[in-house]
Symmetry: D2
Subunit: 344 residues, 4 copies
């Protein structure tokens, strides 16, 4: 039975695997001085409609922590949502890479920050006061940890709250593809056109084996990044093997096609669950994650049937779909739910 | 023409690529809780004839820096060779991961440390003196940066110089396979049986795409390692894709077969160069690297012919062979050398 | 008019200054190997009724951050009150000294943590989960930032919540003297007898020029501390000049006598303010700090009269008394308050 | 008998102690917002004939490490003499404060660096190569650890070697007063006029209790320094007590008068030792330190007589004079030397 625990339990897309095989033959310059890496930069510059500086790395935690380290001094504060991955799931990697900056968690409904909360936090921070960590970065997650999305206008308003106070903006885009696929907007609309300074674009959850890209919309900000990446041990010597993944993933909209499938599977789950008695979907389903309260008997029935998922909090269950989630698995899941309710 | 710049310009072995393709299908637990990762630990425990704790990561720099961070406090000193990769080629990654420990370079002929130099350094370090960084680790490189090897007895003597002073021993094994292949010893003989505490076993240069393993012979030393790895952004979410590489590479002695080929190509180069007039091989050729002084006309002829290699220092040229270096490329190289000398 | 902004606006006690003058003559071994430093350890061992390891430093921020660094790995979590000095007033010094540990703020009425809040935070932290920072230390402030106190029983219950989960306990004692003076207990009762592992004992606010002591009740925990202190630049070369201050301050209960005066002045302020219309004392007055809501006209009248104090939050004013606060200054303050109200 | 181990075994100058006593009365703004601190900046601006940014701290190690952290990124290299205090006597404090930068020791006769050595190191460093730490700072010690001096022209030439390669220059001036007193030059001549960017000016060894000043000649470089100092725990809350020391020490040339005495006592020692049989003065005596090879019998006789000094290396003895070294102590020392030789 299917594993809905996370999109990182998924395998890798055949196109990506095939590109790796092709890239595995013959010599190439190491450390990113290869043609595939150059091509990834070109592709991303085209996709984002601006010249970007691109740094492939192997993990999302590295991408986030390194990106933040480019924006934040050791005495800086990073504002993020209470539930942000950088806050709760990276074992302090951002603190490590920034030399001990402070992450300041902010509340927000549906996993989303509000400009008011950001403004309030910054204005109370004690700018210029030597005893206080100094506002330095705002980190947005798109799609959020709650499976919701910021619209372009929402991103823009959040950036404005940050930039007007001299605070840079990072976007954790581990599921950026899901966001773009759903919003139907240009990738630029929710990044640099809305003012985002640096994006960590996640390929791994979207169909790569292990490939993320730190994307700077203002290449000047990336001046020291190469050294930071090397020093963190994240300059892969045969970088072409990261780039081959990203290149294939970004070709012919594969990244968006895979994301659309994942989103569609989440929708299918949501549609099948929405009006069931005793079932409550906790947040709007806007990407490929579903948080849902289920009756205990239903949870047990699903587990007995072999489905895997995380219990987030008591009755709250998280279901994540991926590029390779079969519709049949969703349907089988829904059947168990239905059956468990008929019995009850 | 062939690229002899480094073994990281090589591609990847077909067996490894094929294993990745196989592993790419279907779900698996993330973060190393998958069967392939378990199998790598089993394989390495068998290969090393003892239970080891294994942590796959994507780069050698990460493997080295993380391994050292498990041995060394921030106020510690790490003794290594003047030319050690951790000293000169990692942009301070060991300093970063240890919280600012000090690398103390020691001289040594043919890229090799001597017990006397190690003992002298430790005894002059000021043990217990609060103003001095404290001796904490010795890092050996096997094969060395000069393409030479430590025999089991040499490793043992160096470890003794360290351990008798309470100093732990790390081995940078980016080219460990080449060493084992050449020495014909058991892997244990140059590691834990000789007293080495932790090995960074390099797969990338030996035929993987990007896969290294930190191998602890004393698992108690690895207690905090999982947190350090995560915090460094080196816990790959789909870890199976690192493990699939290592698993294939370690199966049926593939790692040693590939290393033997690389070593043989270095021998072939050395044999063809050794008695040439004006040619001087700087160090014993014991692994897959050759440092050779060539007449300037010869260097120019080779470059003109399209061969790639690094000039280490004026007339000193480094040639590195790999698992996929064709014998024909070696022969073509030697022909150019011969031709350039006939002309002169 | 008087400056009630903080007890660090005060000068230094004559006994302490005099001891410095005496100590300034002649030679002494540097770096703490002098007789005065030995005597401070003796005095503190007597005062605490147990053998303590003592490390004098010049600032409270250093004392706190270094003490925490002895308890907490870089991947550790430190639990503290929302308003703790280490959380809000040290510009990330604890993060710096611990290599980037995470401070986890907990709420609590009257500036005090509760065992329930501590237990809840630890049990939800994800012990052993590699993605989560690991519970490592609880930091209590005594007297608290709200000018309140933990009783011995309260300290004991908090320590139990920590220790039963393998979490060490630090006490920020910048105003420890005020706490002991008020509680009338043995210093041991609110420290090691209640389970506290390490105390930062503040001399500066209590009448020294610049002298704090990190006091380990379990000297084994201090093993690396000397190196950490040196490395942080906090090993004062002429350490006798820190020790001379502490020695004088700890002689004949001077530290308690000075604290009693400060406390009495806070009481005098509280007594004069308590039943005034429109005046509200925010927290119990248990040490030498008073948080009070005053009518805006009263605040203006006080400022016009030349009194200095901090506005904490709108109408909330903080008044801090010190060892040298004259009773007359308190009375003058209260007269302005009274006069401003008669006018209104 | 006298203690010649170091100038940090000395007490404090009466003028400095007296200033502390005066400063101890009454209130003052904390954290450096007091009149004495402002006056120190004025005095130093006058002494250096330019507007300087001044940050008092309590230790030389902190002053050095913090100053370097303002010049050097974590991936930077700091060039210094083999024997520099920052290299061998600070337990890695510069590494700690810079986030793990690498100190690169360079040889040089008489404790002095040469422009050629600096240039050679920088040009071989691999500027722009991501695998290499990047040249960032040159640290000069004035007076040097060998008790020698750089002339203004020598400083200028060294600075040129650094600046022409984009490398900033720090001067460790723990014994800067001794240098100025001897050279008879303007303080500006061996600092900013010669191009030095930041000086750590040592008061402690020269007659203060514990007071050093980080002096930026280009205040723009000090932009983040206040945060770094706070974060390191080096912002003393009652900063006036550091400033009172420095203010008194800098008044009416006291700093130079005290240094002249120390220098004269070193000269007196040198004069008495110079032509003795079996005695060899290792380096030119240009400040207040003397390195001298003595016959073992003489060393024993001196120790028996109760004199204290460090054996630097076998027969090499270091003698340090201070502001309070009595001429009689020097003469008594010389008498023992003479007597021990007559016996022999």
């Amino acid at each position: 039975m299917h594993d809905f625990r996370s999109d990182n339990v998924a395998g890798a897309a055949p196109e990506v695997v095939s590109a790796l095989a092709t890239a595995s033959i013959g010599s190439a310059s190491p450390y990113g001085a290869d043609p595939l890496t150059a091509r990834v930069t070109e592709r991303l510059s085209a996709i984002f409609e601006t010249n970007v500086a691109v740094f492939p790395v192997a993990t999302g935690t590295a991408a986030n922590a390194l990106a933040l380290s480019a924006l934040v001094p050791a005495y800086g504060a990073v504002y993020c949502h209470d539930d942000a991955h950088i806050m709760v799931d990276e074992c302090g990697a951002p603190e490590f890479y920034t030399g001990g900056a402070k992450l300041v968690p902010l509340p927000g409904a549906n996993g989303k920050l509000t400009p008011a909360a950001v403004t309030r936090a910054i204005t109370r921070a004690g700018v210029g006061v030597v005893h206080k960590v100094q506002p330095a970065a705002l980190s947005l997650t798109q799609a959020t940890e709650a499976g919701t999305l910021y619209t372009p206008a929402e991103v823009e308003a959040l950036v404005e709250a940050a930039h007007s106070n001299g605070v840079a903006v990072h976007m954790d885009g581990a599921r950026f593809a899901n966001a773009v696929a759903r919003l139907g907007c240009a990738p630029a609309d929710i990044t640099w056109r809305a003012g985002v300074d640096v994006l960590t674009l996640g390929g791994t959850k979207g169909g790569c084996l292990a490939a993320e890209a730190v994307v700077f919309f203002n290449p000047a900000m990336a001046e020291d990044f190469g050294f930071a990446r090397k020093r963190g041990g994240h300059l892969v010597s045969k970088t072409r093997f990261l780039s081959a993944q990203l290149d294939a993933w970004l070709t012919d909209d594969l990244w968006l096609r895979l994301a659309r499938h994942a989103n569609a599977m989440a929708d299918r789950l949501a549609a099948g669950l929405r009006d069931r008695p005793g079932v409550e979907i906790a947040y709007p389903v806007e990407a490929n994650e579903l948080f849902v309260r289920l009756p205990e008997t239903t949870i047990t029935a699903l587990e007995t049937a072999g489905f895997q998922f995380y219990r987030w909090d008591d009755a709250l269950v998280r279901l994540v779909t991926a590029f390779d989630t079969p519709a049949a698995a969703v349907d089988a899941f829904l059947e168990i739910v239905a059956a468990s309710q008929e019995k009850a």
